[in-house]
């Protein structure tokens, strides 16, 4: 009886050992899943393929939790199938995440690099077209901030932090767009008067055809031309007031008037603090009418004066717009011009002779 009982127990144990030893443990599958996760993380799948990577981690964790649960059961009743499935799925997802991450980060890197080029073009556009305009400080600052964010974005890109680079680039883009849109609008609004300027310039050139000398001032080009017989006989660099884009309307606006004027007085050295000067007849009749209308509409303060003493004078060559609305030339240019022209010489001042398309060199803004 005892022998029979002992034999039964021994057989039972042997069968159990055989059953258990034949059960496939999830060890290898979990190892593979873990390794796949590590490789995926190295490929920054946690950043560029966040969703799939998270799923893979969750599956690995579920596998481990289930394994622990199964191990707490009686040895003969353990079942590792689900754990193996979780581990296999985790590995598969980790591989997917890695592949997606590689693709996405490569694409993002390309996008960010393309964005750098596009942003650099916008910054270049600003430097070419808008930098010298009398822009509001906010525009100025926005442009500079965009450059700083671009630098930060490039540093992040170089360190492989593509997401950070993208965020910083987007900030740079917001600022550069703000600066360019505001400056572009200012320039486009200004050039709405171009046909008027073109007519004024054509009239001035035509007026020189009889042999008379005519002065034509181009504010955007910052040039003063002397025409005679329809041809340019002199070109000088010119400087204006800080608010040079505006048409002069009142005292103290630091703007340079636009229109047809005449030299009314030649001031030799000693009669002017600006080396030599040619006084023009600002305000002309048209300026007076415009001033009165604007005053009537309340666009100009009731106490404001129209201004006077607009001259072409020396002390220029400072390289910036420093006058109070006059046209500043270098002293040697002033000497030359002073010799060349006399009282009554026509002075036509325009915003720009060339259209905006030429000024912008075809750049789109």
């Amino acid at each position: 009886m005892i022998i029979i009982l002992f034999s039964v127990v021994t057989i039972a144990i042997s069968i159990s050992v055989i059953i258990v030893s034949q059960k496939e443990l999830p060890t290898e599958d979990l190892k593979l899943a873990r390794e796949a996760l590590t490789i995926a993380k190295e490929a920054e799948a946690n950043i560029y393929s966040e969703k799939i990577y998270k799923e893979s981690v969750q599956m690995y964790d579920s596998a481990m939790v289930n394994w622990s649960r199964q191990n707490s059961r009686f040895i003969l009743f353990r079942n590792y199938d689900r754990i193996i499935n979780f581990a296999k799925s985790s590995k598969k997802k980790a591989e997917e995440a890695r592949e997606e991450s590689i693709k996405k980060s490569a694409n993002l890197s390309k996008d960010v690099q393309a964005a750098f080029v596009s942003l650099a073009k916008k910054i270049e556009l600003y430097n070419k077209l808008f930098k010298d305009l009398p822009l509001p400080k906010s525009v100025f600052d926005a442009h500079n901030k965009s450059k700083m964010f671009l630098s930060e974005s490039k540093i992040a890109h170089e360190s492989g932090k593509l997401k950070d680079a993208e965020v910083l680039f987007k900030k740079a883009e917001i600022y550069v767009n703000h600066a360019n849109v505001a400056a572009g609008k200012m320039l486009r609004d200004y050039f709405e008067d171009h046909s008027k300027w073109k007519n004024l310039a054509n009239d001035a050139i035509a007026a020189s055809r009889g042999g008379n000398k005519v002065i034509l001032v181009d504010k955007v080009a910052h040039l003063l031309y002397v025409y005679q017989s329809g041809k340019v006989i002199r070109t000088y660099d010119a400087e204006f007031g800080p608010n040079w884009m505006a048409h002069k309307e009142r005292t103290g606006d630091n703007a340079t008037p636009e229109g047809n004027y005449r030299i009314t007085k030649k001031k030799e050295r000693g009669n002017t603090i600006y080396h030599k000067a040619l006084l023009i007849d600002y305000p002309n009749a048209e300026d007076k009418v415009r001033f009165a209308e604007k005053k009537k509409k309340g666009l100009i303060s009731r106490s404001a004066g129209i201004g006077s003493l607009i001259e072409i004078h020396g002390h220029g060559g400072k390289g910036f717009n420093w006058t109070s609305g006059c046209v500043g030339l270098k002293n040697r240019d002033m000497d030359d011009l002073f010799r060349l022209v006399g009282n009554g010489t026509r002075v036509t001042i325009v915003g720009s002779i060339e259209p905006l398309s030429v000024i912008s060199e075809g750049l789109d803004f």
Binding site: L5, K31, I75, K131, N321
Partner: protein
């Protein structure tokens, strides 16, 4: 009597066979887990990411070894215990590495702040000396505004540093340094060009 004794021995044998021979090294597991968490809290995942990743992998591997042992008739946790001990040691090393990297990075950022501040001051002095040049005052105004942005960035970096964001402050101060250096080069070139004329 003899038969009763045999039955008792057989029953004990079965009991021994069906019971665990060793206990799960829970203390070691908890201790290693806590050490890994401490390493994470120290910012190792940011400052020494590769080492941190290896640590997490080792912890997972140790957990797997625990389950492998648990799955056996006669659990033997010696391999898992060894792995857990390695994890604990690794944690100490990696935490120290992370702390060292943080100290280094902080020192680098602080040194760069000093450098950029000095560059800003140098640039201000150069602006005062700079010729109006071809592009004149407008260009200098643009440079001054650029410099103001670099100066503001330094203030932002100081705030980031105070909040413990070493990586963010490092990237930002690098950009500010780049900006201040390029401004200095621009100004020096303008001054040299004038001197040469």
């Amino acid at each position: 009597m003899k038969s009763k004794l045999i039955i008792a021995i057989a029953a004990m044998g079965v009991a021994v066979l069906f019971s665990s021979c060793a206990k799960v090294p829970q203390t070691e597991i908890d201790s290693a887990q806590a050490a890994v968490q401490e390493v994470k809290d120290s910012g190792a995942d940011l400052y020494v990411p590769e080492a941190y990743s290896a640590l997490v992998d080792s912890m997972k591997s140790a957990n797997e070894s625990v389950e492998v042992a648990k799955a056996k008739w006669f659990p033997n946790y010696s391999k898992a215990k060894e792995q857990l001990a390695v994890v604990s040691q690794m944690s100490t090393d990696i935490k120290a590495k992370a702390e060292t990297r943080k100290v280094e990075l902080k020192a680098e950022v602080e040194a760069m702040i000093v450098e950029v501040k000095a560059l800003v001051e140098e640039n201000k002095a150069l602006i005062a000396k700079a010729p109006r040049g071809k592009e004149g005052k407008a260009a200098l105004e643009a440079i001054s505004s650029d410099l103001a942005v670099a100066e503001t960035t330094v203030t932002e970096v100081e705030a980031l540093l105070a909040n413990g964001d070493l990586i963010g402050s490092n990237d930002k101060i690098k950009a500010a340094k780049e900006k201040a250096t390029s401004i200095k080069a621009e100004l020096e070139a303008a001054i040299a060009a004038k001197g040469g004329k």
